[in-house]
Amino acid sequence: MATSPLLFRTSTFSQVNLLHANIRSATSEILRRETELSTGFRVRQISDDPVPATRAIDFRRQIARGQQYMESIALARSELEATESALADATRLMTRAREIYLTENDSASSSEDTRAVAANEIAQLIHEAVEVVNRTFRDRYLFAGNDGSRPPALMVGDQVSFVGSLVTTPIQVAPGVSIERDVSAFDAFGVVSSELQGRMDLDPAVSSGTKLADVNGSTGVTPGSIMIDDGLGNNTMIDLTGAESLGDVLAAINAPGTVTATIDPSGTGIELMSGGTMITVTEVNGGTTAQELGILKASTPPLFGDDLDPRVRLTTPLTEVAGGAGIDLSGIVITNGTVSKTISLAGAQTVEDLLNAINGANAHVVASINESGNGIDLKSTLSGTRFTVAENGGTTAADLGWTVGLAELPLDQLNNGFGILALDGVDFQITLKDGGTLDIDVSGATTVQDVLDIINNDSNNGGRLTASVAVSGDRLELVDSSGGTGDLRVSPVDGSFAAQNLGIEKTVPDPGVTLTGDDLQPAGFQVDSLFNSLALLRDALIENNDSKLEHVGAMLERSSERLVLSRGEVGSRMERMNVIETRLQDHEIQMRALVSRDLEVDLADAVIEFEKQRNVLEASLSITARILNLSLLDFL
């Protein structure tokens, strides 16, 4: 207690008061030091030292949060370890399959009998592969994606169907850092086909219900205001910040009553009408709203906005797609191995109805809106067979972009999946009617179109022979326009089967100019999965079919390659988690040091301070005793 010296007189009371104050101050200071020493904390209440105290609270929160992250990492790592172990098992299994393949594909070391035995082993390996894909960790299926509650792979006869989800979700392992803790069954095993994607832009028409977020290929419209001049002297600002749908935009533009906004008759965008000679739309404050709505322009009325190109939603009416023309609802026929389903779309109103009808047909296919939001993907989930989509008497499949022309087909789909057996070097020779010859090598071709291009672009051709897909049927057609009088002939070279496999190994006697090939019997799409390559190997071994065996080699390689890539990915994720964990641990140590510095007591200081205050108290007490004893009364 600071007390100024009293200049004139003191009273007995003020003397006592001063002594009281001194003792009080010393004892309270001693008590404070005593508490510090006994608790180890310098700051016990925030007001003791507000800035470090609140800082310490923040640090402690960060420590707790870091611990939570580390817990997430530990769990994710154990799951990734289980995934890695499953993938390692799958790799072993594929190694064994490739050993069998190499042995059995060598005519010197194989026979029908050894192949029959090997086929049994491969059948066993398929079962093991299903077991691996259905591996669980903590009662959840590792490769089932979002849907971890049921086994994702099912044996359907000799084939394997994938019924899990391919959606994997990253978990947060540090502020702003997310890592996927599971591997999609597609990435690891290729369990669904990637072939039949919705190539047709469904191009929905716009309506008042169209969401602004869905237009312009899903880039949407930036909320803002626009300015519309109706050409009659009314320049009106339209606030569109709260607009969610095109209907909201129309209502906002129509509200002031100067300009009438509607959906244009073609159903692609906005139409503005006014009684003036010119409608001018401008941006406000450098915004981009008018431009994104496609109406940043000046035009004599009516002003037609640009095509807004909205994305396909689950709720998009089927009547709105194809620019408002809708699609044919006759339906499709899906043939997937032995399963054949006729799916009628009668009654389907929205895109979701269509997806539900297809997905609910048990045809082992998955239909979904594609990533860019403008079409519908159709994928097969059944490995070990092939699937095709055909019309159900209408144009549904074509409308959805699911019909694939012969030219686009991969060669290995031809001839019921036997494909084309080409040799290195020239495969066949075409003799033209004028006697000219074309030496054709198709070993570099992967699709039918590639073969057509090789023939048409041959350096010796010079436009004398045109190869194309026949107008009807799955066959090729060669038309000779050389004007010669000889026969048009295709003959194999060095025993290559390519011409035969392409259905064109034949002779057309003069005066014929058109060589029509045989039906190429395309086999439909297949799932390029681990199961599929094993199933094909098994079937080739059972059938003792050299040509099929030859094909399987590349598929087995691809399946193994996928596994290797997935394992690499898992490894790198675990490594990232280790790095993050180390960083979190370092961070925690730093935070703890800071908390300690902010809140805890410096023992040496506290002890010295305690001793000092004890001495002060002792002195106060002794002085008090002496002063109070001294009085003039003693001398009366």
């Binding site: 207690m1 600071a2 007390t3 009293l6 004139f8 007189r9 003191t10 009273s11 007995t12 009371f13 003020s14 008061n17 001063l18 700051v43 016990r44 209440q45 925030i46 007001s47 003791d48 507000p50 800035v51 105290a53 609140t54 609270i57 923040d58 949060r65 939570q68 817990e71 997430s72 994710a76 903590r138 959840r140 979002n146 849907d147 971890g148 509650s149 989800s165 979700t169 978990i171 947060q172 502020p175 219900g209 977020a213 709260g242 607009a243 969610e244 749908s245 909201d248 209502a251 509200a255 689950l314 709720t315 979701e352 109805d353 997905n359 809140l599 009085s631 003039l632 009364l633 009366l636």
Partner: protein
């Protein structure tokens, strides 16, 4: 000169010495009494009388017994007391607040918030694990309970501060009436009716009462010529001569607390002190505690809305078979943006998803929420109910939206094979109505976990319809932790709370510094007063010796005069 006059001289001297010795005795007796002001006997030589040619003094008389006080010190001391008590009242409230927001020891809002979000993070690890889900619900309940408890404590703190207002009003009345009473006694005593002189001890008593009053409210005093002291606080007169004006407490309901205000009985005008314990108390009650209670409530408020708007858009392990909004509208025919909802929805839409549990297939319906304020067709609660029914019932007649008797939205499925949920709500209408909400309530006073979720943790909306391991919604919930949703987008919920803690700490530390300064000022003035007015026993001893000698001298003089008289009588 008459020799007899000499006797009177001695008599006067003895008398005066007697009075002085009694006064010294009075002083010494009160050496330990802080209220007491030392008294001093003032003497004067009696006027001389003419004896033949000379003017001869008549000895001594006591003119006055003076009370040694300094008005300057007294006024400063009273002001210092007012200011000190004002600060102490504030500190009392801040200490209470610091106790309630004691986060350094843990187990507070900070920890409950962190635990809640940590358990959200844990849900992303094990979204389909029954224990994780249960633990999450429990920590949400613990968070809600912590908010409610802190709110209750703040309400009680405010109420306990308020309870002291009434006691202070009674103290003010006791003191003003006692001062008026003392005024009366002092005026009477000093009017000369009873005796001469100044009523020193009554004045001491009155000063003590005034000091006590100054501890409660800031006062100004004016002494009248009659010796009475008038007291006013600001413009309000408390004591006027021998009259005092009593105050009373008027209790009003403010939200869920009772607030007492002090006013004068006579005309009902309010007493608005600017310093003293009462002013500090009222400010602490109405500004400090109420403000932090609001801060706490705004945290709960923001948390409820931001968590619910995410939660409403997701789905748990099972779809909903029934959900009732926790927030009622005031009118089912007013636009929802104007229907008395605490959280105001905006123009937008949401998806209503129905799942056939037998086939597992989902059907989506987009429900428009038109709140653009145009065309007079904004969506009301009735419109919303009808929109859902119109969209869904053609396909799923068992689904029905309705309005409860309490004007809440209710959606239910009449058949166990059909469940539903909501998605992509851009209008926030679901969170506004409290549909499929995690938290109910609108602030820290009533925040709670919805009954449906408390009863079935499978309903915690972890996913968005993808499957049991779908954590899309958990991630969105987790993101709420890092969203700058407080103070118009500059702080996260936790950062804002830490800011509040910091401000309480700084405010308390400041008040403590001010108190310690003010205490020094007060103690200095107290010492100054004690030094000036207090009794010094040694000094009194000297005075005693002085008057003892005077008495001895006068007595000896009397003896000599007596001897002289004897001599004279012996002559006869």
């Amino acid at each position: 000169m008459s020799i007899l006059t000499a006797l009177r001289n001695a008599d006067n001297a003895l008398n005066a010495a007697g009075i002085a010795i009694r006064t010294v005795g009075h002083n010494i007796s009160n050496a330990g009494n802080e209220k007491y002001s030392r008294q001093r006997v003032l003497t004067a030589a009696l006027p001389a009388s003419t004896d033949a040619r000379f003017l001869i003094g008549n000895g001594v008389e006591v003119t006055r017994i003076e009370r040694i006080v300094s008005d300057r010190i007294e006024v400063s001391f009273r002001d210092a007391l007012s200011q000190f008590e004002y600060l102490r009242s504030r500190d009392l409230a801040l200490a209470g607040l610091e106790g309630i927001f004691d986060e350094l020891q843990g187990a507070g809002i900070e920890e409950a918030l962190a635990r809640f979000f940590d358990d959200v993070a844990n849900l992303q690890n094990l979204p389909d694990d029954a224990t994780s889900r249960r633990v999450f619900v429990l920590s949400a309940e613990a968070l809600a309970e912590t908010f409610r408890q802190r709110d209750r404590e703040l309400r009680e703190l405010r109420q306990s501060l308020d309870a002291r207002v009434e006691k202070m009003a009674l103290d003010i009345n006791r003191l003003t009436s006692s001062i008026a009473q003392l005024n009366r006694q002092i005026v009477f005593a000093e009017s000369g009716v009873q005796g001469q002189g100044v009523a020193n001890d009554l004045r001491d008593e009155r000063d003590a009462s005034i000091r006590e009053l100054a501890e409660l409210i800031d006062i100004r005093t004016v002494e009248t010529s009659s010796g009475a002291i008038n007291i006013n606080s600001g413009r309000a007169i408390l004591v006027d001569g021998i009259d005092s004006y009593a105050v009373e407490v008027e209790v009003e309901q403010e939200g869920d607390v009772l607030i007492s205000s002090v006013r004068f009985v006579e005309d009902g005008s309010p007493l608005r002190p600017r310093s003293g314990a009462l002013a500090g108390l009222i400010e602490a009650r109405d500004d400090i505690v109420a403000k932090y209670r609001e801060d706490l409530s705004s945290i709960a408020d923001t948390l409820i809305f931001n968590v619910n708007r995410v939660h409403a858009r997701g789905v748990g392990m099972v779809g909903l078979s029934s959900t009732t909004g926790s927030n009622a509208v005031t009118s089912v025919t007013e636009a929802l943006s104007n229907a008395g909802l605490h959280y105001t929805p905006r123009n937008g839409s949401f998806d209503f998803k129905v799942r056939n549990e037998v086939t597992g297939q989902v059907k989506t319906y987009n429900i428009q929420v038109d709140l653009d304020g145009l065309d007079d067709d904004d969506t009301t609660l009735e419109d919303l109910r009808d929109a859902i029914n119109t969209a869904v019932q053609a396909d799923f007649p068992s689904i029905a939206a309705s309005i409860t008797s309490r004007l809440e939205l209710r959606v239910s499925s009449g058949d166990t094979d059909t469940t539903f949920w909501f998605a992509n709500d851009t209008s926030d209408v679901l969170a506004s109505l409290g549909v499929n909400a995690l938290f109910t309530g609108t602030g820290s006073v009533d925040i709670d976990v919805s009954d449906a979720i408390a009863a079935d943790s499978n309903l915690v909306a972890t996913g968005r319809g993808g499957g049991p391991k779908d954590i899309a919604n958990v991630q969105a919930l987790l993101a709420v932790r890092d969203q700058k949703v407080m103070q118009g987008g500059v702080a996260t919920i936790e950062e804002f709370y830490e800011g509040v803690l910091g401000v309480i700490g700084v405010e308390r530390a400041q008040v403590r510094d001010l108190i310690s300064h003010q205490e020094a000022v007060k103690e200095h003035l107290r010492n100054e007063r004690a030094a000036f007015s207090g009794v010094n026993v040694d000094e009194e001893s000297i005075e005693l010796i002085k008057f003892q000698r005077m008495y001895q001298g006068a007595a000896r003089y009397l003896g000599v005069v007596d001897l002289v008289l004897q001599e004279l009588l012996n002559v006869l």
